[in-house]
Symmetry: C2
Subunit: 356 residues, 2 copies
């Protein structure tokens, strides 16, 4: 039976966890899921029973490659693919598929974002096995998360006919909806959140790339040629910026033929904000998530993180986020978590990039 | 005409401005009155037109003597009297009076707390002149502040007969009242806040000390003897802890005969909390008082102070205090300013004195 490879997409560089996350230390390298282990390391740990380290590829940016290798010491260093520039997920997955296909064209790829949280790992494991099995048959598979709220921040996938137990045809992908449509999706029951996890054989994916993104297909072919002469990395550095900047969802999945969905209901979170981090963290009797030397007096439902060597005192505040780091501090209501962006933009416009 | 000496009481060690104030850097050494100059320096500056530096004594603790001399470089170093232990204001003022009386027994002492703010300096100046004139005649003079609210945190002095324009006999001193009495005092109009500023001739004060606090009077006599032999500081170190731990209000003023009150209405503040600091500070269009590199987004009526080299972002909060220092951070609603004490006590009980 063909083997399975893990492809962990770890190139993220978000700002939603400023000031803990920085350009040089983005979300996937932070311990945000309630443990003291980074989201990236959690992602690798979750597949460890099914996929050995030497069959795990990690795609990240050049700037983060060293930290990424350091964070996953069991993964061979050459398995960490460093993109010279970010070009969304289609080039990222395409490159990883090419690398795998050189030795194992019929291997199944389990493509996983590095920065999500999964609460019920047993349930996740059976979804994983189901998705891998469907992919082995030649399907392009996505995992759809059963929605728990009318979320407008995610794309959706509509379930079609059930072709195997808990494996459906995907009827269509839907862009992020407005509030009303999100309500309708939730009520309808057959619209699932697009989790960003994908499963397909390397050869299936590459053939879909050649069909739907021929430019990318050509480029990947040249990577293969260069690899034979040991010059792949030079070629990647020289040409990666010219690859199409498109997601695998838009570029491939929405256009492909045999697309399946495996519904998942395993306590998934995309850890999208400080509020998510609070939800996932261990909390005390006052529902506070406290990290480091924190003195909380008459404070409830708050997320407070002290910098090393620092004491942080919070008095008489509910539902706040206080994140202190060596050179930057953020204080806001939890409900304003989305507005971290405003701060980061203000700092950018004031050219205080040393704090970003 | 006998000269006037300033006696600045600068031994305070409060915790209400934690984490900016520390045991090693108390309130009077901090710039809390809206300028970038310490309250101590402001106090000296306010009397500079009337009293030269060489006739200014400053009483502080041994631990703070060096910083105090550094903060007032124009004051001769020997004019900074260092108490080995704090013994409230009666010994402090008594010692300063003894030092002055050795060369100028009929000099008037203007005794001033180092950590207050005065908004209207012109008005303050005429109160000062009036009080000094009354003291020169042999009165013991206090300045009473016209109350603007039913404050329960201050002692009061009741006005008696007006003996000179804007100089009254003091009918009696009253301890901090409860809410109801404070309301009555405010309504009655003849109860003023006891400002802690006192004026008397050195010989008047010393004779009152001998009468009402004879133990202190004896000790001061011995200081005088030792001073003749150049051993005063040794004696002070050896015996200061045995002096009565009592305020000049309770120990002398309440018992003395010719006590006068000069009413004052010059924008006085005892700068008692972070809320006072906010009130006194320059504020922006959103009524925020911001110090250092602060990014305030949708934030109003708040006091935010960034540590050096640090950026502090506050989003979506009103009426908060955020004070960040190198090793400690405080976040609370302005209305909870009094509760800084709870934090300091918590740190004490956790033996984290490095943050105090």
């Amino acid at each position: 039976m063909a083997s399975t490879f893990g492809v962990i997409m770890a190139g993220g560089s978000g700002t939603r966890f400023w000031p803990l996350s920085r350009a040089s230390r983005p979300k996937q390298l932070l311990p945000l899921s309630g443990t003291d282990v980074s989201l990236l390391r959690e992602t690798r740990r979750r597949i460890a029973d099914l996929i050995p380290p030497e069959r795990t590829l990690v795609v990240t940016s050049e700037a983060l490659a060293e930290q990424t290798r350091h964070e996953l010491p069991e993964v061979p260093p050459e398995n960490v693919l460093a993109e010279p520039v970010g070009r969304n997920t289609a080039p990222c997955v395409g490159w990883a598929a090419s690398v795998v296909a050189r030795t194992a064209p019929d291997a199944v790829l389990a493509v996983l974002p590095a920065d999500h949280h999964i609460g019920d790992e047993r349930s996740f494991r059976s979804v994983l096995e189901r998705a891998i099995a469907a992919a082995r048959e030649g399907d392009m598979v996505t995992v759809g998360i059963r929605p728990t709220r009318p979320e407008t921040g995610y794309g959706y996938v509509e379930l079609g006919e059930e072709i195997e137990p808990s494996v459906h045809r995907a009827r269509r992908f839907v862009e992020k909806p407005d509030e009303l449509r999100a309500q309708q999706f939730l009520a309808a029951g057959r619209f699932l959140w697009n989790s960003g996890m994908f499963f397909f054989r390397a050869d299936t994916l590459l053939s879909a790339v050649r069909q739907h993104l021929p430019g990318l297909g050509d480029a990947l072919g040249k990577f293969d040629d260069a690899a034979k002469h040991g010059t792949e990395l030079e070629l990647v550095r020289a040409t990666y910026a010219s690859l199409p900047d498109i997601s695998i969802d838009h570029g491939i999945m929405e256009k492909a033929g045999r697309v399946s969905v495996v519904p998942g209901d395993f306590g998934w979170s995309d850890v999208g904000s400080w509020t998510s981090a609070w939800e996932l963290a261990a909390r005390d009797d006052d529902d506070n998530a406290l990290f480091g030397e924190v003195v909380a007096v008459d404070t409830h439902r708050s997320y407070v993180r002290a910098a090393k060597g620092k004491v942080v005192a919070v008095v008489g505040l509910d539902d706040v986020v206080v994140v202190d780091t060596e050179d930057a501090l953020l204080v806001m209501p939890r409900a304003r978590s989305q507005d971290v962006r405003a701060v980061v933009n203000a700092l950018k416009s004031q050219k205080r990039s040393e704090h970003l």
